[in-house]
């Protein structure tokens, strides 16, 4: 957009950036021009013709669509002339010619732009006396989306979204002219990870979401703005509820993160909130070895006495805490303060060994923001398949590649969602990452062009674990390489919602709140002064805690919303640790593989039920808000922890609001963060906390192990076996069957065909599954989706046998 220009709208002179679309310029100056097809995040198509206005030209006034007309110096525009009004009424009448007018039974009724504009700009009654266009209604075009073609006004918002924004064009216009309809291909449903966005942007009730259909009328809904906790992108959402039940999530358009979009996991996972399996009372293991419902007093007394006993007998180093990455910052802070201050142990970790390492996450220099992607010329993605793990970040990178002209370089063992739009794709076999990096850095052979591309800055390097069988050292090495590029910034990524926030809150053996090194005695002393109690010295991280559980040196473990047996890459080690069953307390929503053996399970309030903040992968702190109560006897984590602290003779603070204020005092990077500053409407973009004081210098330490004929690529898929997915009816059925994916050459060498049942053996066991053929896979690689039930461990070496 170029320099500001002046134009006249309805007789008023206004200023707008040259090249801005008239519809937007007018709106910014208070003149709303009606529209259906135009959407600010997509290319205009000028199809519905609702936004017609008159522009004065050399040959008199001309009707133009304001959504396709850029403003120009001296332009004279009429948005309310008689001709404009007549044209707009005409368009509306045409739209209603074939519209069923079934508003009373339509989900969109009450928030329908067609309904609204008919009231404000439409003709009185229809002069159309013929039979309307009929279609079978509604039809399911995916597990999540229903389509009513009679209501459709053919604005192409959904088709443009799926083609232009999400890049999976599975819905399209079929037929021509007056027979045109939206549809999917027979037997190819609209199975997009982003399908819910089309429901959100459909201007009528043609596309509706199965989880919301007929659940509520818009005027009965209350709404609160919040932050999606499903991954670390931190999308802004509007949470909408009625009668104490969350009914839907709507993406909120902010430049900083999601630009209005959500992935379907983020949009629909709320169903788990009222899942029947959700815990609603404390559970205490009885003498019979079973978990029984208990009162809060009983449960907390038991925890306090057992942990008190462990500390008395074996010292605080026998106590540990895991988790916090799904919690708010306030909850994580409270958890850290309870462990480090009240209980006196430095054994605590929010990171489960499945991310690129807390040091890189929290301490990377030159950290990129998501918005840096808007300006990047080159984007290196050497990490997870973003579409599977951080879907809306995938959309932002895709936008950079397809709409903003950035060159994307993808390095991954198999095809990722970005490959089609990437300028360069590098395939490598897990276990050969360090060598691949070396060749890339040197620009050897076929990688010369890739290396050359990386010399065009600004560069954003998105770095993370491509899979869980590879060591986190590789991500560190890639980050180190990226930092050698001129004009480069690094974005270390981990999937779990608030993992960076929890680390920032000090849920890490080596970091105090605010990214302060825990080894720094002065810092510990300062914190001790603020807390009014001693601050424990650094202790064990997750693997240390797991081995401590296995060897008996850890005797009591607190789990805060975390399931290491399912989520730790080395599931065998995690399972072995939990089999030893030290005294185990779990604060969670559901029973899971880890807390099945717990002594006490405490039901907690969660997203939509508590107020707090979260920190996304950029270090952007955003607010989460409460709109519904928890279920049954569930309570906010901070209150539970405070009650527990009190029973153990300490205190962590009374309530999340007080804790938030304390964070601003003790965590230097968070000094500017307050709930007020982040409030709905004001602090929409959140606050990106400053880097440091802890910094980490990434190093090229990664070396490649010597590996056998087949190595394991353990990647994640969006709909996996996680509880948020499996607990809600809509998403649970979308999880794919686990399969062993092989390159066709490997499959034929080994004599396997697609569908053959095989046994896959890794370092931690064997699992039976079907073979799937994947020509995009690096040769010599077996790809297994992680966390889909079949656990064989995370060693690189695998065997596949009949």
């Amino acid at each position: 957009m170029s320099d500001p220009i002046k134009l006249t709208v309805d007789g008023r002179e206004v200023t707008a950036p040259g090249g801005q679309l008239l519809i937007k310029a007018a709106e910014e100056h208070g003149t709303y021009i009606p529209r259906f097809c135009w959407h600010p995040r997509m290319k205009p198509v000028g199809m519905c013709r609702m936004c017609l206005v008159e522009v004065e030209g050399p040959r008199g006034k001309v009707l133009v669509t304001s959504c396709t007309t850029p403003v120009a110096e001296g332009m004279v525009v009429h948005t309310k002339s008689d001709v404009v009004k007549k044209a707009q009424e005409g368009v509306l009448e045409f739209l209603l010619v074939n519209h069923p007018l079934d508003c009373p039974v339509c989900d969109k009724g009450g928030e329908c732009p067609l309904q609204d504009q008919t009231l404000s700009h439409g003709p009185g009654e229809s002069r159309f006396v013929e039979e309307k266009r009929h279609f079978e209604k509604p039809i399911a075009i995916s597990e999540l989306v229903m389509l009513d073609r009679e209501r459709c006004i053919l604005c192409a918002r959904c088709t443009r979204f799926s083609d232009e924004i999400s890049g999976d064009p599975l819905i399209e216009f079929i037929d021509r002219g007056n027979h045109t309809q939206i549809n999917t291909f027979p037997d190819e449903p609209f199975a997009s990870y982003f399908s819910g966005n089309t429901v959100q942007i459909c201007p009528v009730g043609a596309l509706t979401a199965t989880p919301y259909r007929f659940r509520a009328r818009p005027w009965d809904l209350e709404a609160v703005e919040s932050t999606c906790p499903q991954c670390s992108v931190g999308c802004r959402v509007s949470v909408q509820a009625s009668q104490n039940q969350v009914l839907r999530l709507i993406g909120v358009d902010v430049d900083a993160t999601n630009q209005g979009w959500l992935c379907d996991k983020g949009r629909f996972a709320f169903e788990h909130l009222r899942a029947p399996a959700r815990l609603s009372t404390p559970l205490v293991r009885g003498a019979d070895g079973e978990l029984h419902e208990a009162g809060w007093g009983e449960a907390l007394d038991l925890i306090a006495s057992r942990i008190g006993a462990v500390i008395a007998e074996r010292g605080p180093a026998a106590v540990a805490g895991l988790g916090g990455a799904r919690s708010t910052n306030e909850e994580a802070y409270a958890f850290g303060k309870l462990l480090r201050g009240v209980l006196g142990t430095g054994n605590l970790d929010a990171s489960l060994g499945d991310d690129p390492g807390a040091a890189l996450l929290a301490g990377v220099p030159h950290r990129a923001t998501i918005d840096d992607l808007e300006r990047a010329k080159t984007i290196l993605v050497w990490g997870p398949d973003l579409k599977e793990e951080l879907p809306v970040l995938h959309l932002r990178v895709r936008r950079a590649a397809t709409a903003l002209g950035a060159d994307v370089v993808v390095v991954h063992p198999r095809a990722t969602g970005l490959d089609r739009d990437a300028a360069h794709v590098v395939r490598y076999r897990p276990g050969e990452g360090a060598a691949t990096l070396q060749r890339l850095a040197a620009g050897e052979g076929d990688l010369a062009a890739v290396r050359a591309a990386l010399d065009t800055g600004p560069v954003v390097a998105i770095v993370g674990r491509t899979g869980l069988a590879e060591s986190a050292d590789l991500a560190d090495a890639v980050a180190a390489f990226a930092l050698t590029l001129a004009d480069a910034k690094v974005m270390p990524v981990a999937r779990r919602g608030n993992v960076l926030g929890a680390i920032d809150m000090g849920v890490h053996p080596h970091l105090l709140p605010g990214r302060v090194a825990a080894s720094d005695a002065a810092a510990r002393a300062a914190l001790a002064a603020a807390w009014g109690c001693a601050v424990a010295v650094p202790g064990r991280d997750t693997s240390g805690i797991l081995s401590g559980m296995a060897d008996g040196s850890i005797a009591a473990v607190l789990l805060l919303g975390c399931d290491p047996v399912a989520d730790h890459p080395d599931r065998k080690a995690a399972a072995a640790a939990f089999d030893k069953a030290p005294f185990l307390v779990s604060l969670d929503l559901f029973l899971n593989e880890s807390n099945r053996t717990a002594d006490v399970v405490l039901p907690v309030d969660t997203f939509t039920e508590v107020e707090g903040t979260m920190t996304n992968l950029e270090g952007r702190v955003q607010k989460s808000n409460r709109i519904v109560p928890g279920v049954g006897a569930s309570r906010p984590v901070v209150e539970i922890l405070e009650d527990l602290a009190a029973r153990l003779g300490g205190s962590i603070g009374a309530g999340a609001a007080a804790i938030a204020k304390e964070i601003a005092l003790v965590a230097p990077a968070y000094a500017a963060v307050s709930w007020e500053a982040l409030d709905w409407g004001r602090g929409r973009d959140g606050i990106v906390v400053a880097e440091g004081p802890f910094t980490h210098t990434p190093e090229r330490r990664a070396t490649d192990p010597s590996v056998g004929a087949l190595t394991l690529h353990l990647g994640r898929v969006l709909y996996d076996g996680g509880t948020m997915i499996t607990a809600g009816p809509s998403l649970a059925r979308l999880a794919p069957e686990p399969a062993a994916h092989l390159h066709p050459d490997d499959a034929s060498r080994l004599g396997f065909a697609a569908g053959d049942r095989v046994t896959v053996t890794g370092n931690a066991g064997s699992a039976a599954m079907a073979v799937a053929i994947d020509p995009t896979l690096a040769r010599g690689t077996v790809y297994l989706p992680f966390n889909l039930g079949a656990s064989i461990g995370n060693g690189l070496e695998v065997k596949v046998e009949k």
Partner: protein, 428 residues
């Protein structure tokens, strides 16, 4: 003075005018040799000087259009052979009977605009045209007129004959480009114009078959010679398609400026079966109709426009006194409804609505309010019902459906009203 340019060869050599042998034997490809020795910009200058206007419908000056090309490369030439406007069948004759004439024009035009790939978009219902052109392309390639290093120069050119699949709207130039890109044939919003961002978003010239078929003659004889033929604003010759209630239907290459009377009653042989002339469409189904009071006005682009219609694609459709004008208008409205791409609400819904009102009237179920309703629906597609038409749509297809209705309402309102039970004829 020359009075025929395009149809001389096919008439003199009815059995083989389409072959390379005959084409070369009658002076073919001499213009190409001459052009390849010229500077491209000089060819463009000759075309400008000729005042050749496009024969696809809009009548835009060809040389001026070529001058709008954005400097970027590659550039493309697209020949519009989608000829689908009801009443029009002239391009088919040029394709079937003298494909090398068009091909030579394509090669020269591509050289002039620095295009190295040209596409000919032939409507799917013209397989014979496509076959004849494809054969010409193969002959020309074998003879060194196409391919790499044409006639020993450094100029390379590929020509792809592309077959459409039944969609009138692909005649609209940007719809043709979408179709060539493998998309639905939906018109694009202009600007950008194809000369700036056309095929694959690259600078592209779209010209009609007949337009480009004139290029070899212009290069051989000079722009000034062409500009000396015919009246100002309608230079050169023009191939008109005459059809309907006329004794001698067919394509006629004429110099413009004769009267409608000379055309319909002279060349056309008048109305058969001793019937009287009722009205005619002067320029294809999109054009407003003329009535006998205009018989003595000249057939030129400007005069037709002045009289409230357009020369369009050169299709003259004659209707005799027995014609049921409501049924005739319905046939045309139905055509546009069938051919609407469906993007624009007013065109998609409006043309179908108009069709259905007319169907009701034809079935004897018209309502007295239908006369006003027809005109108001038209007004919502083409506000003010003026000429040249305003439009609430992206392309002129929607407004084209308005022409037959405003025509019958203007000239034959009583006949329309008489078909509607209970409606009162004005003035009675």
């Amino acid at each position: 003075m020359t009075d025929r340019i395009l149809t001389v060869r096919m008439e003199a050599h009815p059995t083989d005018s389409h072959t390379m042998a005959r084409y070369e034997a009658t002076g073919g490809y001499a213009a190409l040799r001459k052009a390849l020795a010229m500077k491209p910009e000089d060819i463009v200058a000759e075309v400008k000087a000729s005042n050749l206007r496009g024969r696809g419908g809009a009548g835009f000056p060809t040389g001026v259009k070529w001058g709008f090309l954005a400097p970027t490369r590659p550039r493309y030439l697209v020949i519009n052979a989608d000829e689908s406007e009801p009443g029009t069948f002239k391009d088919r004759q040029l394709l079937e009977r003298d494909p090398h004439q068009l091909l030579e024009g394509i090669i020269i035009s591509s050289f002039a605009i620095d295009a190295h790939h040209a596409f000919v978009f032939v409507r799917g219902e013209y397989p014979r045209s496509a076959r004849r052109l494809q054969q010409a392309v193969e002959e020309a390639r074998a003879a060194g007129y196409l391919g790499r290093g044409i006639l020993g120069t450094g100029f390379d050119l590929d020509v792809t004959v592309h077959l459409g699949a039944g969609a009138y709207i692909c005649g609209e130039e940007t719809a043709a480009l979408n179709s060539l890109e493998g998309r639905r044939g939906e018109p694009r919003i202009k600007p950008p114009f194809p000369a700036v961002a056309g095929l694959y978003a690259k600078p592209t010239i779209v010209n009609n078959v007949e337009t480009i078929a004139n290029i070899p003659w212009i290069v051989m004889n000079g722009g000034a010679a062409y500009n000396a033929i015919g009246p100002e604003g309608s230079r050169g010759t023009r191939l008109l398609s005459l059809s309907g209630h006329v004794a001698n239907p067919g394509n006629y290459e004429i110099v413009m400026g004769m009267s409608w009377r000379d055309l319909i009653f002279g060349i056309g042989g008048g109305i058969p079966n001793g019937k009287a002339l009722k009205c005619w469409i002067p320029g294809g189904a999109s054009a407003p109709w003329f009535t006998p009071d205009l018989l003595d006005t000249p057939v030129t682009l400007d005069d037709i426009a002045k009289n409230g219609s357009m020369a369009g694609s050169g299709a003259v459709v004659v209707m005799d006194e027995t014609t049921n004008v409501v049924a005739a208008a319905w046939s045309i409205v139905r055509f546009f409804s069938h051919e609407s791409c469906g993007q624009c609400t007013p065109c998609r819904e409006g043309t179908t609505w108009l069709q259905r009102i007319l169907e009701r009237i034809l079935a004897g179920q018209g309502r007295p309010s239908d006369v006003d309703l027809l005109l108001d629906v038209c007004d919502n597609i083409s506000p003010g019902l003026r000429w040249p038409p305003a439009q609430t749509t992206i392309c002129p297809l929607g407004p084209s459906a308005v022409s037959p209705i405003t025509s019958i309402m203007k000239h034959f309102r009583d006949e329309v009203v008489a078909m509607i039970p209970g409606a009162v004829t004005a003035g009675v």
